[in-house]
Symmetry: C2
Subunit: 457 residues, 2 copies
């Protein structure tokens, strides 16, 4: 019997727990799941005899440690900032730890200690980060083995609404934390490298410098740059790659319309609006436009942002109801970003039968001998319902499979890791295919290079 | 004999010290001037028998207090963050204190203590803040006395190059801290109120929403919004004024061209550029533009920011040399803002005989009975040379005059103050006229209202 301790049973743990319960009998697992809310856990356990619900404050070391002593492996679904504390407990107690979160510098520093304790602390093993690492590294390693040298790596991921539930002009609904969507791209310029040239995109231009991406069977997407592409060179062993670019996927046309809010200043989260509790949508938009006693908010906005009369972007704005002047938004002391989020939450809410979608797209151009080649790798996954969403499945399944591989000894790594080694990604990607999370790789001819002259060499 | 202690003898103290020395004999003043650099002080004292140079660290309480005990009045020209410490010493020792800096919340809290100690701590008595308060309050109080009610208050100040030294297409040179110019407007949306409507301008639009201002004899200026107009309602007793707007003056056309750097992200001070030490001006600009192996930086920039071929803004960019690809900027680990500052410092430097200029413009619309009226008040001051600049004169003279008025008992105020009361501004503004710092007030007919309907009432 192997005991698995799960700290935190929030939204994203549904698919993880289902996977572990489905495989509990065969693998002789017993799950102990901790949360502050017993009902939440019991709903997820769904009467299974392989799991029990525990209610205590998992954020407190003294409360969780007695349970940890008892476990063979710990999964932390707690907020990311608690993972280092949990990891320190795991090192002392010599228990393996798995988390879906980014490795913090403090977590990284625990590598030697974890290795000495003979445990693995596997992080970033959800979807993004997680499946992105694994699916990219599978191609990168293969190219490397065959003697190729990577020249371009571009990678895009997006959490979107499934095509069958896509019924609004933005082709977007909130499938995850709305606040993160409203604040996306703030906090510093996006940085990447293209053909050896470092490039910087400020927030004010971020949503106007998208790349168009076609995913076969799913049509056109666009990607805007993530802030931190450069650090992936070190993570993936691509230190001298001339082009590396990571981005976030939206449906084509989204970003240009979203940029209206960026230009207005409506995504600002640094100050509160005077009298926000009295504002209608129309007042909110008008607060960013020049004063005029006669002109309409509509015409002022069109003029201010140079929106042509026949620009279909306008339909997106009208559909959101941003010109409605009847109902109050109803938030007191709210920042622009909070007001905008409130407006969007009503319009971009998933309906009860709506499904979400995760799309991922990698482009690899590499040189073999004197010849350039291109491979794309793409994955689209649709959620089952609003419990087993694509987000929950693509986060929970890699976690669950990793649990199995650690407990059955397939993964022998010790120390602090992310899933970039073959020993980890190969069995996980293989098993993910059984759950419909499958990457389709294609060779593209001729390869799409930025610098054509070099492609002639 | 009255002893005046001046802490700090930097750039901005030249005119202050000259004024005090010129008036020392008549008023029986003795000046003791502290700085880290004796030569700097002695140059300013210029052999006068009414002053002596002291070298110690005025930032340290234990070093300055023995000198403070000896003084009748202290002027602090130290960096603003030290003023609260100095004020606390002044309260204990019962010495009057004068500073040109903004009142911090901590300084404000000392009001009662200062009053109890029987001293005045007069702040914000330079040019902006300082002369702006005084010249505005003179009109505001006069209107109030005559029974008028203020409806619109707009106020603009700028530090510029004098017309006779204005020989570049930006009509701008650095006459003060270049770093502040490069970072101007960052750190939050500009907030103001117009006809009772709160308005917000984000940084990305700040330099595109200027107001055009004509100052008689000096031509056209433009003003972009300052961040903090709203707080002036409380300072000036205009709590329910429908329109209040403060801004910074540039010559017409400056802001639209400056916005090119804002849109590029070239004013960002939050990250460092990779390999900045190898970058030419051209590389620097190119790092913000999309990669293309063939297109020129010029065309990419024109296309990116939609700059027409016949737009005279382009001449400003070319004149700055931003497309020069020969010489390196030569800064290591530099932020975009630091790189841009370096480029600008060479081009926007004052030549040895150049003079600076301070321009200030207020617009007041008020209602008397059922009638609206408008008064403008404008001041332009030209520097003498590069020691007695307009900046130095307009900061130093109000300070110096205030010293006289405190020491001769004209100003009887106690506690922490800014120069918004008649007792302070009237004698100071009167004496400033002797030095050519003179406001010209005009009635404007018909008054320029934003809301014409109300003007018919």
């Amino acid at each position: 019997m192997k005991n698995i301790l799960i700290l935190g049973a929030g939204l994203s743990s549904s698919s993880l727990i289902r996977y572990l319960l489905q495989n509990a009998e065969e693998n002789k697992w017993h799950l102990r799941i901790v949360d502050q809310n017993k009902e939440v856990i019991e709903k997820k356990i769904n009467g299974s005899s392989h799991a029990e619900a525990l209610v205590f404050n998992a954020l407190k070391s003294e409360e969780r440690r007695p349970e940890m002593e008892w476990a063979d492996l710990v999964i932390s679904m707690l907020p990311a900032r608690y993972h280092v504390d949990v990891a320190e407990d795991c090192i002392e107690l010599k228990k393996n730890l798995i988390t879906p979160s980014y490795v913090s510098p403090q977590m990284k520093e625990l590598h030697q200690k974890a290795e000495d304790a003979g445990i693995v602390i596997m992080n970033e093993i959800g979807v993004d980060p997680g499946i992105d690492h694994m699916s990219a590294m599978r191609v990168i390693d293969k190219v490397r083995e065959e003697g190729g040298k990577m020249h371009i790596f571009e990678s895009f991921t997006g959490g979107l609404v499934a095509p069958e539930s896509d019924d609004n002009p933005w082709n977007y609904k909130f499938t995850w934390n709305p606040r993160n969507v409203v604040l996306a791209g703030q906090g510093g310029a996006a940085q990447f490298i293209q053909e050896g040239m470092y490039k910087y995109i400020p927030y004010t231009k971020l949503f106007r410098r998208t790349e168009i991406i076609n995913i076969e069977g799913y049509g056109l997407f666009e990607g805007y740059a993530n802030r931190n592409s450069l650090m992936y060179r070190a993570l993936y062993g691509l230190d001298d790659i001339p082009t590396i670019y990571r981005g976030t996927l939206r449906r084509k046309g989204f970003s240009r319309a979203w940029d209206v809010f960026v230009q207005l200043g409506a995504t600002d989260d640094t100050y509160t609006l005077e009298g926000s509790e009295h504002m209608t949508n129309r007042d909110f938009i008008n607060s960013f436009l020049p004063y005029n006693e006669n002109d309409s908010v509509e015409l002022k906005l069109r003029h201010y942002l140079k929106i042509d009369l026949d620009d279909t972007l306008w339909d997106k704005l009208v559909w959101l109801g941003i010109f409605d002047g009847k109902e109050k938004i109803g938030l007191k002391n709210a920042t622009p970003a909070q007001m905008l989020q409130k407006i969007l939450e009503e319009k971009w809410a998933l309906k009860p039968d709506d499904k979400d979608m995760i799309a991922m797209y990698h482009k690899f151009v590499y040189k073999m001998g004197n010849q350039f080649h291109e491979i794309t790798s793409e994955m689209v996954n649709i959620g089952e319902d609003q419990t087993f969403t694509s987000m929950s499945n693509t986060v929970g399944l890699p976690l669950g499979i990793c649990v199995k591989l650690v407990l059955n000894g397939t993964i022998q790594l010790k120390g602090v890791h992310i899933p970039t080694s073959k020993e980890v990604y190969d069995p996980i990607l293989d098993e993910l295919e059984d759950y419909g999370i499958k990457f389709i790789e294609r060779e593209i001819n001729p390869p799409r290079l930025y610098n054509v002259e070099e492609s002639w060499s």
